[in-house]
Subunit: 348 residues, 2 copies
């Protein structure tokens, strides 16, 4: 029955101050890399901090600050169910946020119009300690993000990244791997049969959609010689349009055995499938677990959903912003968003 404490005793700032032969305030300055301390004093203090593996008490720090922290979430204004889920989960955190004196505000904007999005971001600069943004990857947006960062605001991209910006963190999945996963599932579930595979996307101009398609095609090319991928249909994430395009495709190809819906518009895709009377023979994989995809999985119309946990994304974004604001380390493993494969029996 071995015992093993994972944490050490609890020193305080005052202990460090005494040990280093300086005042409380000086230790505080060093701890936060504030100016106005002689270099060798800095060194001496840092040394005592390190030697004692001193960890300031977050609760005390938080209390002493007084001022509450403000975070903004900049989200798409449209009726996107996935985004609504994220907002709902943020809402569920309200008690948690309140007891920590954290303020989270939602700012709806047209994230698909780069200039509008950039303007929304620029407008935030002074008012927030941190910003989470579902971002379009565009030079104007990148510049706006970098301006925020320069102003000292912590910035996290959410769901959709702008890798070329200087954002502090990205909370979302690797979309190429997600596409690969979708491809592997379609390939494995189709099995020995040969035939054609259809892809419906919102637009190939969207970074995440393009990446998913790329990953999907990688797997098709390298591992599914029995499958021929048809040209991508662009349904603009709209049900009606996706349904039309797909219905026409079904009319032209009798041997479609696999179907991958990259973005939204899943209802339309499912309609086309049912109306063609092929919902049982075609392997159908789409993204995200919503009320709709849950139903389709249970009905056996959809075979698998590739999903990113919206609750996790909401909470991870808040926690990362908070850690950044406090200067705490980020638990990367905890905040990483996984690619979930959801089938009927492991529906969350």
């Amino acid at each position: 029955m071995a015992e093993d404490a994972l944490t050490a005793a609890a020193l305080t700032l005052k202990d460090i101050a005494r040990q280093a032969g300086v005042s409380l305030a000086t230790v505080d300055r060093v701890l936060h890399n504030r100016p106005g301390v002689r270099p060798d004093t800095v060194r001496r203090v840092k040394e005592t901090i390190a030697r004692n593996a001193f960890q300031p008490h977050v609760a005390a720090a938080e209390l002493a600050r007084g001022r509450a922290r403000r975070f903004a979430f900049v989200m798409p204004s449209g009726p996107n169910p996935f985004m609504q889920q994220i907002e709902a989960y943020l809402g569920e955190m309200s008690a948690w946020l309140a007891t920590r004196r954290l303020n989270v505000e939602m700012i709806a904007t047209d994230v698909f119009d780069p200039s509008v999005l950039a303007a929304s971001l620029e407008a935030l600069s002074e008012d927030y300690d941190g910003v989470a943004v579902v971002a379009l990857d565009h030079p104007g947006v990148r510049a706006a993000i970098d301006d925020l960062v320069d102003a000292g605001t912590k910035v996290v991209t959410l769901v959709s990244d702008v890798p070329s910006s200087r954002r502090h963190h990205y909370v979302g999945i690797d979309n190429i791997a997600a596409g690969r996963t979708a491809g592997a599932l379609v390939g494995r579930l189709v099995g020995q049969r040969s035939g054609k595979v259809a892809i419906v996307a919102g637009s190939q101009g969207l970074r995440d959609h393009a990446e998913r398609i790329f990953g999907f095609n990688q797997v098709m090319a390298s591992e599914c010689p029995n499958l021929a991928v048809l040209p991508v249909l662009e349904g603009r994430d709209e049900d009606a349009r996706s349904e039309q395009l797909l219905a026409r495709l079904f009319g032209r190809h009798a041997d479609i055995v696999g179907l991958y819906n990259v973005g939204a518009g899943t209802q339309g895709v499912a309609n086309a499938l049912s109306e063609a009377g092929r919902d049982k023979q075609v392997v159908f994989v789409a993204h995200d677990v919503t009320a709709l995809t849950r139903r389709l999985l249970l009905q056996g119309v959809m075979d698998a959903a590739i999903s990113q946990n919206p609750g996790h994304e909401a909470r991870a974004a808040v926690r990362v912003l908070l850690a950044l604001a406090r200067g705490e380390p980020i638990l990367r493993e905890q905040e990483k968003i996984r690619i979930d494969i959801v089938m009927r029996d492991n529906l969350p």
Copy 2:
């Protein structure tokens, strides 16, 4: 550009006290259901608290307590890689724990011997604010857990539950659903082919193994008429024994198309599969993502792993114990452990 604050202004205990016409101390007593307050005073104070949706500041509370909290993790003493992963993730949290003045201690014990486990638990009673335990479902263990609960200690079962006890929370997966998921995967990946399916378990006496087998068989019976399930092999979670048993089975049945390893001993199972020269034809599903299963997935020997995220389980256990100790609500959605399907392309 609509704005919508998710949190309200920040009142303090003092504000409530003034509004209710009592002193700070009385509000504090009511807030924590402490005795020594007249019933109608209680009512009046509770009302003011509710009316203002007052939320005490956790940081202030934590600071004022002074005393650090102590949690114990009672884990199996053997060299189980999955448990070692949980311990490793707890280790990674040490900085996070330290800044919150939380103490987590590991206590290794023989969790498979009910009397030893019960004794270990009883020994903890006075010393800890919370206990997380990988528990065997046995009357003696149940009693020990209930004793802890009666003593005011918060108790969380981890990975393996004791549903009949009064533990405050279970952090782990639904093993029946996990078995169903495994079954569905084997069924879907085998496809049209017909043949036999082998199951290797540690022991059918272990609750989690029995539940997984039950779920697996459910799916086989109802949805895979083309597959015949062979009697369960009991490998005691040991590589050598599992390999032997399985090798013999392969000798007797030439038409095995599916294989489900319910517990540990995956190395042995994989060996038997390779040596029989069937690793490419047999659909092989096992549990957990370890160095080994990762390799087997990449090699194409394993087709899917059913997994529970050990890092998430470690952190969820700590967070739940902390929330219980503080009397905060638990974010059920956050702490729920999902059944992950991991294939080559979504390896974490």
